[in-house]
Symmetry: D2
Subunit: 379 residues, 4 copies
Amino acid sequence: MIGGGRGSQIGPAHRLGASIGGGFYLAAGSLDHRPDEGRAYAKSLGINDDRAYGDWREMLAGESNRTDRIDLVTVATPNATHFEITKAFLEGGFHVLCEKPMTMTVEEGEEIVRLAEETGRICAVNYGYTGYPLVRHMRAMVARGDLGKLRVIVAEFAHGHHADAADADNPRVRWRYDPAQAGVSAQFADCGIHALHMASFVAGDEVERLSADFASTLPSRELEDDAMVVFRMESGTVGRLWTSSIAVGRMHGLTLQVFGEKGGLRWAQEQPNQLLWTPTGGRSQTIERGEAGLSPEADRANRVTIGHPEGMPLAFSNIYADLAEIIGAKRDNRSPDPAATLFPTAKDGLRSMAAVHAAVASAKNHGGWVDARAPMFRV
Amino acid sequence: MIGGGRGSQIGPAHRLGASIGGGFYLAAGSLDHRPDEGRAYAKSLGINDDRAYGDWREMLAGESNRTDRIDLVTVATPNATHFEITKAFLEGGFHVLCEKPMTMTVEEGEEIVRLAEETGRICAVNYGYTGYPLVRHMRAMVARGDLGKLRVIVAEFAHGHHADAADADNPRVRWRYDPAQAGVSAQFADCGIHALHMASFVAGDEVERLSADFASTLPSRELEDDAMVVFRMESGTVGRLWTSSIAVGRMHGLTLQVFGEKGGLRWAQEQPNQLLWTPTGGRSQTIERGEAGLSPEADRANRVTIGHPEGMPLAFSNIYADLAEIIGAKRDNRSPDPAATLFPTAKDGLRSMAAVHAAVASAKNHGGWVDARAPMFRV
Amino acid sequence: MIGGGRGSQIGPAHRLGASIGGGFYLAAGSLDHRPDEGRAYAKSLGINDDRAYGDWREMLAGESNRTDRIDLVTVATPNATHFEITKAFLEGGFHVLCEKPMTMTVEEGEEIVRLAEETGRICAVNYGYTGYPLVRHMRAMVARGDLGKLRVIVAEFAHGHHADAADADNPRVRWRYDPAQAGVSAQFADCGIHALHMASFVAGDEVERLSADFASTLPSRELEDDAMVVFRMESGTVGRLWTSSIAVGRMHGLTLQVFGEKGGLRWAQEQPNQLLWTPTGGRSQTIERGEAGLSPEADRANRVTIGHPEGMPLAFSNIYADLAEIIGAKRDNRSPDPAATLFPTAKDGLRSMAAVHAAVASAKNHGGWVDARAPMFRV
Amino acid sequence: MIGGGRGSQIGPAHRLGASIGGGFYLAAGSLDHRPDEGRAYAKSLGINDDRAYGDWREMLAGESNRTDRIDLVTVATPNATHFEITKAFLEGGFHVLCEKPMTMTVEEGEEIVRLAEETGRICAVNYGYTGYPLVRHMRAMVARGDLGKLRVIVAEFAHGHHADAADADNPRVRWRYDPAQAGVSAQFADCGIHALHMASFVAGDEVERLSADFASTLPSRELEDDAMVVFRMESGTVGRLWTSSIAVGRMHGLTLQVFGEKGGLRWAQEQPNQLLWTPTGGRSQTIERGEAGLSPEADRANRVTIGHPEGMPLAFSNIYADLAEIIGAKRDNRSPDPAATLFPTAKDGLRSMAAVHAAVASAKNHGGWVDARAPMFRV
């Protein structure tokens, strides 16, 4: 692991997710931009002295020289460094799980996609919410035609944690709305993009074009804290996506509704163990995580008996479990479990980056429609 | 009452609402475009022979000549006739409650607004959902500053009753998507406009400009069955409104979320007796209809003890109860209860018509932003 | 109407329910134990001078002498007077709708049952919650075998409106827990009995024996404010019933769960427009009031289009609508709509009284099992 | 770990819980009653050859002889063997986490309690639901007086997984209702006891006496599948507990409601990240796991950022995390974190066993009230 040092939020989440999956243990790390601090923290987590590195370059060199080199490196450093580190480790022949955003620009994203193809290394990107069993089941239902042709997808990721004006100058909040630190977009890039990725994941389809309306509702903010994006997918499916960080009363707010010819689905991240399914002309019914007869994709991701809730750490761990299966299959020269191939890849990281830049461009141009695809994916 | 004959859905709702209010009884009617049928049905409802009219012109003449003329006429005829009938009765000196839409064009709407002012007659328009006690309480909370400056309003009216392709040719459904019969807009004009009116009602503010994305998700439909409208209110409040008739699994789907500086509200028409209120930095709490200490506006509209649900007919009846109070006050030359002045008027009817035409224009122009105000309200 | 004067809670509810039903209007009344006050209030409600009576005896005499005598008398006086008035009006040949409890003793209850049979007059008792369309649908589902043999019924009526110790001396609350004023039981007789009646109504079965645990959780209270009753129905179905008035956070709390061989049902009065149905081995699904294909019993009780909530006043009005149909059919010498025969009768009033006395006896005897049936219903 | 072999449900749950906690790894095991199978499975889980034991006696001997002996042994064998194994390991000087039920009789339970005291070893029992952060917060709220004096506790654990008569002969289900295999009680001992323990845990009080009504609703069952228990705690708090395995439509059904002088709480295991709190006279409000300002007990048990749900595995892991802290503090001769002392102990195991036997005795005696305390706890 690179980054995710003491005080980090995402670091422990990754270590928890990786440990639950059962396929990985923390073998090496460069956990802090201050070498001594990083080494000390790594040791405190049980990493051996000789694999507690001072920085990522040292780690790349050190691990490259070992016969028992790490199977996977997790990149959980500040956003602007993801590209450089991911690139270097892919080139060094390592599999990578990169925190989102994978890169800061579309060009960098295309470079990583090409590099992953050339090296044959896995480059996964952590859109971890797609690890929930019922999210995977939604995808399976769409894929096998339970909904018929999709018509409309409504995605939301609206919370209220940045609503307090008194808190807006808090450095922990302020940097997110400052283009110098956060890049071209705040709430859409941070949260909305998870909802957009989930829409694509479930639909098995990609966003083709979009129109965006960004709003910055606090005077002190330059970047958006509330955004509405309407889009069309390649197949013509209509999309609506709302994201907000000032929606007081919403705790997390990631929800997805999918409406097709033959039925509709509704799922919410805060109650992830239930999925509402309504066949057209029929009654709404509750699909429970863990019930008998779900898809292989859901069954693989399911860990605990029905009625006992699973939460986000298990969703997250499913990304790691997939990677363990894929990497293991590569090592053993066997076919991996097909249900383990659903983790998000560099292509998803690139598509997300392209969508962020497209939304920013549209919002600046009064909502004019913009192509949302990376150049390499345009036909 | 004019229209609302046998088999009508809205006719019985009006009669139920008026009877519950306690202030009106059905004294006269022209209930069907077939004179004999209308007279017979009127008599079956207890209307005296001499006031069971064959058409609205006969009724206008007949009632004008009586000393005990009706206090209020409800217009529940097909949409295209609302303007003509409303105009004639206002000119005849009657108070009118017109079903929505009040008119088909903005010009007609402006004419009705002017006429109501000139004649001093009441012209109410039936956006009946604003009769719910907790909707009125939301308005009162915003007005007295509980939410501080408003930032974002999210309105929805999404149902799935027109999702079934097999049902699309059913005449009861088909006419709604046929411009020749329904006018320029289907789902937005039919349902979305209720959500938009409610947003204005609660905010105490008016829509200034908007951008719309309309979609027609069934091949057989010319008009939209799914629409997203983003808007700005005169004070700068940001708005997002989604409406759909193909959202399988949603039964009615009218909800309103209001986010301000000091807190957020969430209300849903299907569970109208609870209102979720979250003060910024505090916990979400449930406001119950009928609890002690609500606003005078909510208290006036409240009928039944806390814990016993009220439904739509009582909301509807509150519009009638307001009109009874206002008309009674005019007759008795006294000041009406200020909490009875919240019913929607011709100005609301006009604003809605202007918003529909603006949304249609924007949708045709790839979502370009359009002024949503009637010319007479532009500064 | 007798009783239900100015300031009464139940009086307006009856008048609202009767007016919505469409079958009745308020023709005569003796609304207060103070004759002048009662007469004045009756006139203010639109009752003619000659039918605004000073007391119920005057009203009985007056109406008996008229050819246009009232069709139905509603008895909404203090509990202890129900028996005497109901008896007198039945003997006078009137149909009666009596507020609950119908009587104070089992013996009186048996007398009313016999009297209703002898006179052929209707004696209805107002367990008004059974007027909800979906409660009637539950009964229909059980009756037609959708649940198979019933196993367990779980009924609740738990609210928190008497939890505040500071409020316990409030006369509006205190009398309920004082045996001199309230009789042998407080919370079970007031609220629990509604849940018990609903259990019998839905099961189409009667309570045979029970065991009760009563608790009085405030030192100042002699009668119970929290009670648990376990019971067996005549068919062997197991019952559990909890009722409380100190359940802080519950607003009304009337819910019913029915579990049978083939499935389970769950309904809650505070969200009465949805019914949860789970076939054994299948998924939970939501039955919506107003959906196509419900039972005739539900269809008759349904008034408003699906998605628009109905509340308690409409449930209540269904009792009146049934009575209008039955009385009309008697008058016209025709068969009434079979779906209109579900209103609670004197037998239900008697059964409830027997259950209250049985529960009190059991609670006093450390939960020993007691026969819950009135003597006349024991085999 | 002893038991929890291939195909076991509880084995993986323990290993998952222990791994998440961060304080333990699986060092030794005797995982199956078939020695070879147990050894092979242990190795497949990464246990070294010399610690993959064939049976628990071999393991006890083997570990006793090591300087790096295991810190804690988890007993997850069939119920009837818990006593013997737990006793032997305590006597051997090991700390033990025993699956519930700790013993089959009250006498055995008292022996374990005494042994744990004499040896100074920890004997924890796995009532894992008390590991949820908000369950611990409920306990903290009660302890610090937020609810004032408690009045009534309502506990439920009702599911429908044994409702299907066709499935009743399934050996996986049938043994539970067979006294020869399951002991004196089925559903109450299996599920109800979790709810009863949680009631005691949250109240900080113990059950003193109880009255029970057991029902066996399927003809083929000897033991109860539905039970109602009413009880009084030592402080006089009133209790109601319903448990069922034929409640079709309920998935898990563990809920707790606590009503006191100053307020009420409601929590449900299926949505464990929210706790409903209603102060007397105030509005219901939602306490979110992870919100700022909760009790130290909740904060210690909290792992993931607010809005991201935690599930059962994390609750379970909190038991292990507590044990790691306590065992570590013993080893290091320091005071443990006081918030880590909430795990259930042998006393809880004993109290539960006493309550099961009391309920069985009461149910057999027509609900007569029975002392629910183990002899050693009677004053």
